[in-house]
Symmetry: D2
Subunit: 396 residues, 4 copies
């Protein structure tokens, strides 16, 4: 644990010093008014980051997976129908969770590397004339494949079908990094976590609920206590949690939100896009291809890079860790061994990113791939220097 080099995994991200210090807080009485001064700014700030005026925000001491479970258990009944597409490991896991909770999932199998098929959603929803489908799941950014999907198109599919199903969006690896519009897209539940765009340690599930979703929760019968939003809301109304809150992490979230909103969400999005573009240009310079099938699908938070046939992409990740003390992400599930992933979200500069690209180059050459040292770096350098950041730096 030398902590010298940045990490290049798709979360947890590198953390700003000030955010880390805010998390590192001595004990306060979580039942005192002081906690309310941390809690409410967090709720308000998350709402702004979701671009919502009215979403109810819930924060649980948990992770994104707990957030998925919160969404399901507060809105559904055993046996309810859910529509979802599987185009990567994280959409797969949410589907799996549905099935384990006794839900009836219509799965649209989608090639890994493709986005969510809004057209197929529309067809299925249109055919569901009895409106048996209660919820549509949508993974905004497939962290396994580096594929961004078009949530606005999913909303259009629902609207075109005149279907009342709720729209649940997994924004774990997109929210606070990429464009996300809770109100405009008609999202009913958005799920994210602390350890991605919010640049915090893992430990918080963060959700936004539409009024419709909150209303639905009142009659949902899947068992829940820890993840119950009614208990949580009752706690918030008294400046509290229904159990001991993760005070330090929320103190960090409060600061992180201040930083993101001070920078401006559009600047945050532009910053992530700029860093990501440099990575993609480097990948092209290496003669490699992304897992994402087309540019409209490219994620600005993570790139999954295909390596040549017969080469085990996971070796790059292992070699980078062992030889250079640098962390990249392995391929998961269907693309295990076929891709390695570079995370490029959170607290990350062009300068830091160049060191990650340089490391990837050394690893690939070390492992016998036909890559020219410095080629990707040079391409990214040219992009970064000619596309100056208006806000490349996260103030701390």
């Amino acid at each position: 644990m030398s902590f010298q080099n940045p990490v290049f995994i798709p979360g947890p991200t590198n953390m700003p010093e000030a955010v880390r210090q805010a998390c590192y807080m001595p004990t306060i009485d979580h039942r005192s008014p002081t906690f309310g001064k941390i809690l409410h700014p967090c709720l308000d700030g998350v709402r702004k980051v979701l671009k919502s005026d009215s979403a109810k925000i819930f924060i649980f001491p948990s992770t994104g997976t707990g957030g998925w479970e919160t969404a399901l258990s507060n809105s559904l009944n055993s046996g309810d129908k859910v529509l979802a597409a599987r185009n990567g490991m994280f959409s797969h896991r949410w589907i799996d969770m549905c099935q384990r909770h006794g839900l009836n999932v219509t799965v649209v199998e989608t090639p890994w590397g493709q986005g969510l098929p809004a057209d197929k959603y529309e067809a299925i929803l249109t055919a569901d004339t009895n409106h048996e489908i209660k919820v549509v799941l949508a993974t905004h950014n497939e962290t396994a494949t580096g594929v961004k999907s078009d949530i606005a198109a999913v909303r259009r599919a629902l609207d075109a079908a005149g279907h009342p199903a709720l729209l649940f969006v997994d924004g774990v690896s997109s929210i606070a990094s990429m464009d996300f519009r809770f109100d405009e897209w008609g999202v009913d539940i958005a799920v994210t976590g602390s350890q991605k765009g919010f640049m915090l340690p893992a430990g918080l599930a963060i959700l936004g609920f539409s009024d419709k979703a909150v209303a639905t929760s009142r009659t949902a019968t899947l068992p829940r206590t820890f993840f119950d939003i009614a208990d949580m809301q009752k706690g918030y109304d008294a400046n509290a949690f229904p159990y001991t809150p993760p005070v330090g992490l929320m103190n960090g979230l409060k600061l992180s939100l201040d930083m993101l909103l001070d920078e401006g969400l559009e600047n945050v999005i532009a910053r992530h896009h700029r860093i990501a573009e440099g990575v993609r240009i480097a990948v092209a310079a290496w003669g490699l291809e992304l897992c994402a099938a087309s540019p409209d699908l490219y994620s600005d938070t993570v790139s999954a890079i295909r390596t040549p046939e017969g080469f085990n992409a996971t070796d790059i990740v292992t070699h980078a860790a062992n030889t250079y003390d640098v962390a990249f992400g392995v391929g998961l599930g269907e693309v295990a061994g076929k891709v390695f992933r570079i995370g490029h979200l959170g607290s990350l500069t062009d300068v830091m990113m160049l060191s990650g690209l340089a490391t990837a180059e050394m690893c690939m050459v070390d492992l016998g791939l036909d890559i020219k040292l410095g080629s990707g770096v040079a391409a990214a350098q040219e992009y970064y220097r000619t596309n100056p950041a208006t806000a490349i730096k996260i103030a701390a």
Copy 2:
């Protein structure tokens, strides 16, 4: 948030500087072998603290409440029968959770201030000749009333009845502070959290499962994913979690375990007892009584102190916060307004405790109670100085 005075709440506790620093850790790759070097010592250390040779340990990014839910959802089926006693707010909440998860709870109503009625448990279990009761719940230390119960007696009740029900123990505010014997007492699931005896921030649910409990989990049908121990075990076997683990908190837990085990569990227990005795002697000097009905029930982690009729005990807590920037605990539920609580667990010295007692005295006098300033302090001083600590200091 001046952080100058210690807190005297029954958790989260004051944190040792070194533990806080260990939590405050830069990002590492949680899929790298480095994480295994944090994870496995945590599992091994918790097992030792539970005084178990073979318990399977599970740690979730959650709280004690999530730990309760883990226990229930991994062992029970909807409609299953559970036996529990209600003698305070926390036993009440676990019963409430059972009911919300569709369990059929036989509740033994017990006066707040009393311990768990092992005799009544035995009668009910003996009468349950069909062994329909699947689980017996036992709150080892009622944080609301400062009452410790006799878990060995509950085990004897089960044994005397020849009953195969599983024994689940809430040790949230006892484990790592008071005597706890997983193996000897035949505990099947023990539940605790990070923010009490482990002296960490809230954010971890920590559980031990007996082999029998693990076996039962294989057929339990209450829905669960986030809290599923099979997924978690599969993760551990690969040095990982099934989702992003709370790395910093676990790094803190690793250090906290080292500190506790280096000090020696018996010394840890003696240290808590010594601090608690000083508090109780001060309470007696004030002419006040504890909520706990008799000395065998006195908790060594929290004292709930009854104030005179007609006096709102909560005023002490509010006044202490507003006037002296000191945190005590309010009374909850049935004893709201009737007691205030002094937490005396975790990283706390006699010297720190004396400042808490001195503050309580000032508050009581300020609010018109007939207390002599310095009386409780003097009594505690005499106890502390004539009962020297062999291990009063937590090494940092």
Copy 3:
């Protein structure tokens, strides 16, 4: 090093969490403009704390002792005459430094426990018709005896004698804690350090120079480079130091100054006075006496407490450290073994102070002194609760 209990030494003080975090800063380029944004607010803030409109402020990576040497070496020539009174260990050491630097010191021997004899200063200065005395030294607060001297009276002595000597004041243990008026008292050089009222670690010598002192420095010939104020000023003018500056400590000083000035200097002074009064009332309740001869001399930052004849006061300090892990100060020089000292400056609340008093009581009883446990605590409690703080808390 458990860091659990507060320290009660006359500096370094307990540190506010936020100040400590500000010191704990990653490396920046100290030659970049960023450093100027730390440096200049420090200079401006110190000037305000000195209550000066025009003093030139100098900060060296050193200690108060280095500050003394800075004062002497930037203003004097070998053989120059200096007037000083010796009434404690710290005034003694400054005199000793003068002698080692070849200065000719007229020493007014003054009983330890007395303040500076302004009348004798006046007589000597009046007799010095040739104005051979170049500098008058005045220790504002004798940390060894807990004696505060009347600097305004020393200024009046100079003025009454019509003497042009420079007035140098050691304010190490008074500035930022007790009333100090650079301009009003006509101070020419004030010396302090980081580890007292500024609540920082040791490591900074902090000085204010009057225009007259700066002018004198131009011709002073005592050798100096590290402590040369002309080099330092040239550095400041370029946002720099003449060598590598202690960036983190200065970042902490910047925050400390913000906190002190936000609280208001009069509130800071009142806060220290209130805490000190509680200590003195406890001492009286113990039946003991202060080293300081009369109330007008009582220091609000440190109390030196005389113990009975035949008792070694240092034993209290040793016993407190060994038995209770609490730090008090020993007696120094003439009063070694005769007094022990309680520091009550910096980040310290009434609640913390009560734990110090309770500890002192236990120690004294443990060591056989005829002290009633709780007696001093009760007296201080009564004072603190009936003299509520308007600003007892340091915001963090």
Copy 4:
């Protein structure tokens, strides 16, 4: 102050997390035995780093400049003769300090970019038949020019001349990074600071004295108090300082020494050499030259890189700070505007260094220099990957 990118200045260096945390220590009583447990390991560890069996080690709350003054003022008398060579800004400053302290310096003017002229030293010493020269100054590593000098050759010059002068070595930017041999080279006083190879914040002057230097100090008459080694030694003998010590910084030094000695000094040296070689190979790939005149002079802690005629090298440093938030060093004195400097010492990996090289390339291209993006990076990558580190990582 985003603290995201590493710094590439020749000190203060990037700091290991654990060292930073060790510095960030709550207040302890510096007069307690606890301080001795920090102090003595520091003294012992520094001695080992100096490769000395018997040097007396002194640590002052100061900087390298204060260390120079300590060396001079503890060994010389006004008017004493000193021999020194001026081959850069730091050797110049030490000479200047000598002159300001009334010493008579024979200065051997040496081109900036050249090492110390041992042959000229020998000639001068041989001619000094009366042994009027009391001290020979030698700057081991000229931080301004990136030039390492041959201290063993200086020692041979002294020996060849049969001259008894003391040998004082400025090792501020070499000790703990480059090969340094106090005993073997017959060094009498070695001077360094905390913020270079020790990877700490600035704030400590660290010196080693030979027995001969200690003996000389007893009769040296230059005035000194703060920097007096006899006072300091007396303090050490009582586990103390003669004034308030910088406890946190020394706690950090203790850890830093443990890390360096655990790694092994030869590994530390090899690690610095490897990082430096990568930089030099990149510089060659850019078609630029170092200020250091020949390979035997190349410093392993800092490289001063000459830019083409007519180009202001300082622009690179300003542009890097403003555009990329990266810190390099400017040219100083004679080489101001002609060189920019890359610091490559302390806590720095190959991966971090590559980001510095990539940034330098972007800056040079942005400013119109004829540099190929990626060219230096590629050269360094090839070097780093084919010269694997046996110990590239600093354990934390």
